[in-house]
């Protein structure tokens, strides 16, 4: 007997056929999933890219090749951007302090404005007005050479780092100071000083005796005419402002100065311009010729005490100091033989730019490049200086 036939029960087979679940069907979702899976299994596979077949590791998403390439690309970009440029270091505290002192970045010591004030800088900013042209031809030639580089400076200075520009500015300031000290043995008359090209200064400090309207314009005009080495562009930017500035505008810009000059007692001619400045000195005093740019000051006493201050910390010490320096720069007196009661050393970026010594009512100003000047300034200014120094002196 065959096993197949022997073990098959027809009654049970019939019962299976008639069972209630005989008509059961899978759910449509299961049917659809099965058919889709079957179709996907034999679907043509997308061709493998040639680069993946050549380098199978590139197709593995677990490998961070993209991140590696992005890092290399970014490093290359940064390297190219900083090529031939100095890496910027930490900015000294003095720079930030000076900036917070009220000198805006536009007025700050950028090389273009400092080296070529008449050509680029706005006339009202102190750095632009500070380096007044020296009368001597050699000094003007040096200053002109510094100023002549200025128009080309923006193209290169944009790519230079901040420390490089600061160094250039310092060098330009020193060169101008040296040229001015060496080639200006006699201070110009007060009337001419008042009309020195920085136009705001010319309008702000006119001589008390000069007619208001005619004093500024002709003087400025003659000054402009007396500086033939100036470029036409520089003249067109500086002279018209000084010549064409109405006296009303000048008086409006510094009304206190005019009133102070009118009411001030008679002074020596060399101190006329200094006396024209008001007692609470304004920033316009920075426009005096011979004033170096400085951002820190060191006060030294004969007994060895000394204190270092930033310009911001110096507070109201700056106006009398600059006023005294300006007075000394316009004087040609011999150095005072008396021992110094106070020594004020001005610093710019950590480098001494000059020393002001006060001894028994006389002052001696020694710029960094030499050319010592002495003068007997106004007692009120000296008193103002000592008052401030006393507040800042170490106890």
């Amino acid at each position: 007997m065959s096993g197949t036939s022997h073990w098959r029960d027809a009654r049970l087979a019939r019962a299976l056929q008639e069972a209630p679940d005989a008509a059961l069907q899978p759910s449509p979702a299961a049917r659809r999933a099965i058919l889709q899976a079957a179709a996907r299994a034999v679907a043509p596979v997308a061709p493998v890219p040639w680069w993946r077949s050549a380098w199978p590791a590139a197709g593995q998403r677990s490998l961070p090749w993209n991140a590696a390439f992005a890092t290399v690309a970014l490093a290359t970009l940064v390297t190219v951007l900083w090529r031939e440029q100095e890496v910027p270091g930490a900015q000294p505290e003095a720079a930030s302090a000076a900036r917070s002192d009220g000198v805006s970045p536009a007025q700050g010591p950028t090389p273009a404005t400092a080296a070529a004030p008449s050509a680029v800088a706005p006339p009202a900013t102190p750095p632009a007005a500070a380096p007044a042209p020296a009368p001597a031809a050699t000094a003007k030639a040096k200053a002109e050479s510094a100023a002549g580089d200025a128009p080309a400076a923006p193209a290169t200075s944009q790519r230079r780092s901040e420390p490089a520009r600061l160094r250039e500015q310092l060098m330009a300031d020193r060169a101008q100071d040296l040229a001015r000290a060496a080639a200006d043995p006699v201070a110009p008359p007060a009337g001419e000083l008042a009309a020195v090209p920085p136009p705001v200064v010319a309008a702000a400090a006119p001589p008390a005796s000069a007619p208001p309207a005619a004093g500024a314009a002709p003087a400025a005009g003659s000054r402009a005419a007396a500086t033939p080495q100036r470029s036409e562009g520089a003249l067109s930017k500086s002279a018209p402002v000084a010549q064409g500035a109405p006296q009303a505008d000048a008086q409006r810009s510094v009304p206190d100065a005019a009133s102070t000059v009118a009411s001030a007692p008679p002074l020596a001619a060399s101190d006329a311009a200094t006396a024209a400045a008001p007692a609470p000195l304004a920033r316009e005093t920075l426009a005096e010729p011979g004033l170096p740019a400085w951002d820190a000051v060191r006060l030294e006493w004969p007994d060895g005490r000394r204190v270092d201050l930033t310009r911001a910390q110096a507070g109201r010490l700056a106006p009398p100091v600059e006023q005294l320096i300006a007075a000394a720069s316009r004087s040609d007196g011999p150095p005072s033989p008396a021992p110094a009661q106070l020594r004020v050393r001005l610093m710019q970026r950590g480098v001494a730019v000059g020393t002001l010594e006060v001894a028994q009512g006389a002052i001696t100003w020694t710029p960094a490049g030499g050319g010592t000047r002495s003068a007997h300034p106004d007692a009120a200014v000296l008193r103002s200086l000592f008052n401030e120094v006393q507040q800042l002196a170490p106890r």
Binding site: R14, Q17, D21
Partner: protein
């Protein structure tokens, strides 16, 4: 109508329509087989096991050889393995030590008689009730015996084929089938006794 083996070979060659035809042809039988093999307690998982069965068939398309066995036997073996895997993971598999016992004689004559009769409504109701009772009796069987009975009665596999496909010895396969028949006949005694006087 192309045979199942040819359709499977066509599908292995990329013909999706051949698979669709094959699926339509055996969908119901495989589904019922899985359903009865899992039993009522695992009825909720029938769809999942049924889908798993077909996915296994799809995955094994390249290994199918028509020289080995009929496609239907091959497919039912895959379904059996899928259902057993599910029963094993569900912890419901019970292994029984089987002793040799004599089985009952087959009643092949009944099939011929039933085929010749026109089924009345009473007969339809009777067989429907018998089928329901048989499903209940199948749930009472151990899985191995249940599988042996279903493979033999639903798929039509011989004991030799069943032993070969399940990797069993012939005597083991025969023993499982004999025990299954013995228990089912005992469970279905009420219906079988009614049938005998009629026959």
């Amino acid at each position: 109508m192309p045979p199942d083996e040819q359709l499977m070979l066509a599908y292995a060659g990329g013909d999706v329509s051949a698979f669709e035809l094959l699926y339509a042809r055996h969908e119901g039988a495989l589904y019922r087989f899985v359903r009865r093999l899992l039993g009522a307690p695992l009825a909720a998982q029938v769809d999942e096991v049924f889908q798993d069965t077909w996915l296994r068939i799809v995955a094994a398309r390249a290994s199918f050889t028509p020289q080995g066995a009929a496609w239907r036997t091959w497919a039912f073996t895959i379904a059996h393995n899928a259902a057993m895997d599910r029963l094993r993971t569900s912890g419901r598999e019970i292994t029984l030590g089987g002793g040799e016992d004599d089985g009952d004689d087959p009643l092949e004559w009944l099939a011929a008689q039933l085929d010749q009769r026109h089924p009345s409504s009473e007969d339809v109701a009777f067989w429907r009730a018998a089928g329901r009772q048989l499903l209940h009796c199948l749930d009472e069987l151990p899985h191995a015996q249940r599988a042996a009975f279903l493979l033999h009665h639903e798929n039509g596999a011989s004991v030799e084929d069943m032993a070969l496909r399940l990797g069993l010895g012939y005597e083991t396969a025969k023993s499982r089938l004999r025990y299954a028949l013995q228990k089912l006949r005992g469970c279905m005694k009420k219906y079988l006794e009614v049938m005998e006087p009629v026959a």
